[in-house]
């Protein structure tokens, strides 16, 4: 069973290593990418089943006992996130086959993707704060390179902003970890959970909590700290944007939820109220930004920020229902966001541009593809049978239950505005006739000639989109099952005794 906890890290790492050995063989790298992500998905599902059946799993790397060594823990929340990482990894690996150009492939696109997935899984599974820092850096370095790979002007400028702000947040993280070690004498999260509740200088703990809020806030792209995201997410290839939008900000939100449920709960009245204000502002600024944009991926980038607001809102309300809502929101949003970015890539290929004003006529030419866009888009806006509706319903109910009417009002308004921005994409790219002034009439055929490597290429683009859209519908239809999962995960988050016992039990084993 202990093997399971390290497999989601070992599989991508081994895949990357083998791909590096076959550096000059692109076809080997492509197949390794597929095999590695499939393996990751299988291992993560296995881990998820183990956690669901037997409760929280923990292992001590190197057999060094708990507060001293590095612990890997998987509770239901982490396990769900790892499964989604595997799923998105596979979807994007398939999508990359037909969309990433030869030059990027020969500069190590596939190994980098694997290392990114390894960093994400590591961040979800670790039970040690310093180790979390290390996984964040692994994730960031690989994402820097993926972002800048190709070296176009927009990419480099976006990457500079991304690198600067994320490195700043890493420096704050490091300082916070150092101070926390000075205060508590440990960095194992389960051990910290016990020791921080006994610390008398609660002011100091709250100060540290604020430092972690800033650090993870930058990674999660919450209100005043999100500027790196819309500056960079629309620049790299679509597959890279998709994996970034699906997973990277969610790792930040995951860290926020983990730290503010397990460690910093001594002054909930202050910290979580602040988080609630941040959540509201994040939602509003995100959605207003999205409404103001006129480029497919920029609209979606701002929607990423707005969604982060919803997830953080559940954490801020800090009730079982609210946290379950957060977990459920994350679960379905990862699928929806990745899918929307993948759709934007296909729309770009069909129209030859991502500017909404120059796109058009997609509904008339490809009605089935238009439907594939509508499923995640309407789910994002929260239209009933789809998954996003149930996530927002839970959060709104939790808000009403906690009598935070203001945040409920904001959440509902933001949902309406989300619908507006999705309608804008629909109107511009799909519904309105093709702009006459451009030479677009011949464009699709020209594009098809470019991708004439065949139907295979188009298939690799469409299949992941279809599967993710089907998943969105399934989560919506079987919302009860998924919401029960989220509820159990939220209970585990709110009552850390099982978590602590699992880690310390691993100590004596």
């Amino acid at each position: 069973m202990r093997v399971l906890l390290v497999l989601p890290i070992l599989i991508p790492l081994s895949t990357a290593a083998v791909s590096l050995v076959f550096w000059r063989r692109r076809s080997v790298q492509r197949w390794m990418g597929m095999a590695g992500t499939s393996g990751l998905l299988a291992a993560s599902v296995w881990l998820f089943e183990a956690v669901r059946r037997e409760g929280i799993q923990a292992t001590q790397v190197g057999n060094w006992s708990a507060p001293f060594g590095i612990t890997f823990v998987a509770d239901l929340f982490s396990a769900i996130m790892v499964v989604l990482t595997g799923l998105m990894g596979l979807a994007v690996a398939v999508y990359s086959l037909g969309s990433v150009d030869r030059r990027r492939e020969s500069f190590g696109y596939y190994p980098l993707l694997q290392i990114l997935l390894m960093g994400v899984c590591g961040a979800f599974l670790t039970g040690d704060l310093f180790n979390l820092y290390v996984w964040f850096e692994v994730m960031l370095i690989s994402s820097f390179v993926l972002l800048a790979l190709g070296g176009e002007r927009g990419q480099l400028e976006g990457a500079i902003k991304y690198v600067t702000l994320n490195l700043l947040s890493s420096a704050v993280f490091l300082a916070a970890v150092g101070l926390l070690y000075g205060l508590a004498g440990t960095l194992n999260m389960a051990d910290l959970a016990i020791k921080l509740r006994a610390v008398e200088q609660t002011g100091l703990v709250t100060t540290l909590a604020m430092m972690f809020l800033i650090t993870f806030g930058v990674k999660a792209a919450v209100f005043p700290l999100f500027f790196w995201l819309p500056a960079s997410y629309h620049t790299p290839p679509f597959a890279v944007s998709a994996i970034f939008a699906g997973l990277l900000t969610k790792v930040g939100v995951y860290a926020l939820i983990r730290v503010f449920t397990l460690l910093f709960v001594v002054d909930v009245g202050y910290t979580h109220t602040l988080i609630l204000v941040i959540a509201g502002l994040t939602m509003i600024t995100g959605v207003l930004g999205a409404v103001a944009q006129n480029e497919f991926r920029r609209v979606l980038s701002f929607q990423v920020i707005s969604s982060v607001g919803f997830m953080v809102m559940g954490l801020a309300l800090f009730t079982p229902l609210a946290l379950a809502g957060s977990v459920f929101y994350m679960l379905q949003d990862i699928v929806v966001k990745t899918n929307l970015f993948l759709v934007s890539g296909v729309a770009h290929r069909l129209c030859g541009t991502s500017e909404l004003k120059e796109q058009g006529g997609l509904y008339a030419t490809y009605p089935a593809f238009a439907l594939l866009f509508l499923i995640p888009a309407l789910s994002l806006a929260g239209i009933p049978p789809l998954s996003g509706f149930f996530a927002k319903l839970a959060l709104v109910q939790a808000g009403l239950g906690a009598q935070s009417y203001m945040i409920v009002f904001i959440a509902l308004t933001v949902s309406l505005l989300t619908l507006l921005s999705m309608t804008k994409i629909w109107n511009e790219a799909f519904w309105k006739p093709q702009p006459s002034d451009s030479s677009r009439a011949e464009m699709p055929t020209a594009i098809r000639a470019v991708t004439a490597s065949g139907r295979m290429a188009t298939g690799t683009l469409i299949v992941p989109i279809v599967i993710l859209a089907a998943l969105t519908v399934c989560i919506g239809l079987a919302a009860g099952f998924f919401f029960d999962l989220a509820t159990v995960a939220a209970e585990q988050l709110l009552d850390p005794t099982a978590y602590i016992r699992a880690v310390e039990g691993g100590m004596t084993r």
Binding site: R2, V3, L10, S14, A17, V18, L20, V21, T59, V61
Partner: protein, 139 residues
Amino acid sequence: MGSLILSTTARFLMPLLLLFSIFLLLRGHNKPGGGFVGGLVAATAFSLYAVAYDTNAARRVMRVDPHTMIGTGLLVAIASGALSLIAGQPFMTGQWGSFHIRGFGELYLGTPLVFDIGVYLVVLGVALLDVFSLAEEKS
């Protein structure tokens, strides 16, 4: 480039540096040293060669592509950690064994050394990748 003094000394220094890097690697088990430093010293050996001649010559002397070296190093390191999984212990638990070699005595060896060899290869590969790509960009 083409300085006679530099290229002659480089040829003599390189084997010395490489031997020294292996010495550091083996010494690192319980004294200062180890795979990281060893890898860096080995990287200086090849970098010196690259400065004295050119990067193509250094690549020829190395015979292995830096990428392949990184990949191999990673695989060696993973294998050393995964050995304990087969033994039913948590990942990366040290596995030890002693061997008797005639005329030499008891030799006590474990997986940390294997891990260090992996680190050595990865560091060597990464450092050379950096040096080579920067040097080749200029010319």
